[in-house]
């Protein structure tokens, strides 16, 4: 539905050129929600603006709904844009129009008859739960309500593609959940393909099927959300995941951590549980079968869109067992095991 191939964006400056996007390849299939995450300045805003050509890529191909956009003339491009909905961080509602007329706006651009507009707008306001505010002006609405109006407006022309540019970044956590829930419902009911950019992993974890991590204008990692959480490959991804799935050591332990182990040291392991493993008493079983005591230093569990994922950090005394045995046991249970380091004589140990 959205296919970006070898997209580059270079801003020419006086002294040097800024390469904002480098060889971006990103595909969003029909009905899929793909998230793009990155720090501010990583190029994600430029990326999403390239999809509807608010920014024209310096090179590369942009295909939406099967149409190559970069070669269209202005009037064809406007036609294509009617089929691409977009919502923004700051909602961008027209302040002098009521809720009703904001949602009607894209239909008025298409010169649809009044009756048809009335019907579509009423339905949409019903869908986003704002039928009772149809004559309110945007300044009379809360942030969450404004974003609902913006979503209704984006859906008015029945697009197959929805672009979300930091849609929840201006909202409080509770409202964020409501809006994400709404977007998920829309995706399910209308089969819309959705591309969202955000700097919050919590957004990705809640709605995305797949995620691309962007850094310095490059996509450094792209995989399903579960895979990214289970096995983050780059530093930047690990840090982003940390923000929702806390898996760092308490500071005083962190400072004692060594990368080379001594014979009587304890090993610190980070375990990642995915899917069914999160619900089974794996550690309990491990302790019963091996009679090895473990120290749990940190643990939590998170709901991704489709699966549960858990993180645990524990330490084990290596005098009584071999690391390989521990690893083999846990990996057989579907747990990802990672050695974080070694500490001597843990203060937490008995």
């Amino acid at each position: 539905m959205i296919e970006l191939n070898n997209v580059n964006k270079i801003y020419s400056g006086k002294s040097d050129d800024h390469h904002a996007l480098k060889n971006i390849n990103l595909h969003v299939k029909a009905g899929e929600i793909v998230g793009v995450i990155g720090k501010s300045g990583a190029g994600k805003s430029t990326l999403i603006r390239c999809v509807n050509l608010l920014e024209r890529p310096t090179s590369g191909s942009v295909r939406v709904n099967g149409v190559e956009l970069t070669t269209l003339n202005p009037s064809q491009l406007r036609q294509a844009r009617h089929q691409i909905g977009m919502i923004f961080q700051h909602f961008n509602l027209l302040a002098t129009r009521t809720v009703y007329h904001n949602v009607a706006f894209p239909l008025q651009l298409l010169k649809k008859p009044k009756k048809e507009i009335e019907k579509i707008v009423s339905e949409l306001l019903e869908k986003v739960g704002l039928s009772n505010r149809r004559d309110a002006y945007p300044n009379q609405l809360s942030g969450g309500q404004k974003q609902r109006v913006a979503i209704a407006r984006a859906l008015a022309t029945k697009p197959q593609v929805l672009l979300c540019d930091e849609m929840t970044s201006a909202l409080d956590p509770e409202t964020t959940d409501d809006i994400l829930q709404l977007v998920r419902t829309i995706n399910r009911d209308l089969g819309l393909s959705i591309l969202c950019i955000t700097h919050e992993m919590s957004v990705i974890k809640f709605i995305a099927d797949r995620v691309a991590v962007i850094d310095h204008g490059e996509i450094v990692e792209c995989a399903t959300v579960v895979d990214i959480f289970k096995n983050p490959k780059t530093n930047i991804t690990q840090r982003l995941i940390q923000s929702v799935l806390k898996s760092d050591l308490p500071a005083d332990l962190q400072s004692q951590l060594r990368f080379e182990g001594m014979p009587d040291d304890q090993v610190v392991l980070r375990l990642t549980f995915v899917g069914h493993a999160t619900l089974e008493p794996v550690i309990n079983e491990f302790m019963r079968q091996t009679h090895i005591k473990v120290n749990i230093l940190q643990a939590n569990i998170e709901q991704l869109r489709t699966e549960l994922i858990g993180r645990m950090i524990m330490s084990i005394d290596l005098q009584k067992t071999k690391l390989e045995i521990v690893q083999r046991f846990l990996e057989k249970k579907g747990v990802v095991v990672e050695v974080m380091g070694y500490v001597e004589n843990l203060a937490y140990a008995e």
């Binding site: 608010l54 406007r78 844009r81 027209l94 002006y137 300044n139």
Partner: protein, 224 residues
């Protein structure tokens, strides 16, 4: 010169007549400022906006002409364009003649005010409209002007008030209206009462315009 006025000899009649002349000059000049200045202001804005109709050369030329007109002192403009005035309205004295220089100075003034008014419309709104497939003309008509309408009303108010001041100046060289009355009676004949009355009427006029303008602007604004 004042003898060409109609047969209203009493003071009240004089003041009424002059007031109507002033209003006439101000409103007709303001009307022209609106008709020509609004599109000119829009043009100045869209020719420098890369999303809309970026034409740097056209922008520079239009901007230069506007700046030139705005930098000529009104009293000089009044005299300098006499041949043009005669060409357009067939005479170079009287209220009708005064309307030409008034309009010519008001158009670029108002255009700049319009330009800055629509430049204040959040850029996100233009982006959103573009993303929805709006054309430049649609963005101007349905986004920029409606969203800036409250500021544009304030610009009209400001233009009207500036024109009241200028019309008094036009009066000084035979344009009629309250300015003329003040100079003829107050300055040249030392009839302080008439002069004070004209000043009082001018103050009331300006107050009224400002009050009305603020009221309408407030009613139109929904973004506070």
């Amino acid at each position: 010169m004042w003898r060409i006025w109609p047969m209203l000899s009493n003071e009240f009649g004089l003041l009424m007549h002059a007031t109507i002349q002033t209003l006439e000059m101000v409103f007709i000049a303001a009307l022209f400022a609106l008709i020509f200045g609004l599109p000119l202001g829009v043009f100045l804005f869209i020719t420098r906006n890369s999303h809309l109709f970026r034409r740097p050369l056209m922008h520079s030329v239009a901007g230069f002409v506007v700046n030139v007109l705005r930098s000529i002192p009104f009293i000089i403009l009044l005299v300098a364009i006499t041949p043009l005035t005669r060409l357009i309205v067939g005479t170079s004295i009287g209220t009708t003649a005064a309307m030409v220089p008034l309009a010519i100075s008001a158009i670029p003034f108002f255009a700049r005010l319009v330009e800055s008014a629509i430049a204040e419309v959040p850029v996100g709104l233009v982006e959103a409209a573009l993303a929805m497939g709006a054309s430049t003309a649609q963005i101007v008509r349905k986004v920029l002007i409606p969203e800036a309408r409250s500021t544009i009303v304030r610009a009209i108010t400001l233009t009207l008030i500036t024109l009241v001041g200028y019309s008094a100046m036009a009066g000084a060289i035979g344009g009629g209206g309250l300015g003329n009355l003040a100079i003829m009676y107050g300055y040249e004949r030392f009839e302080v009462r008439v002069m004070l009355m004209t000043v009082l009427i001018l103050i009331m006029m300006v107050q009224l315009f400002q009050w009305l303008g603020d009221k309408i602007a407030k009613k139109l604004a929904h973004n506070i």
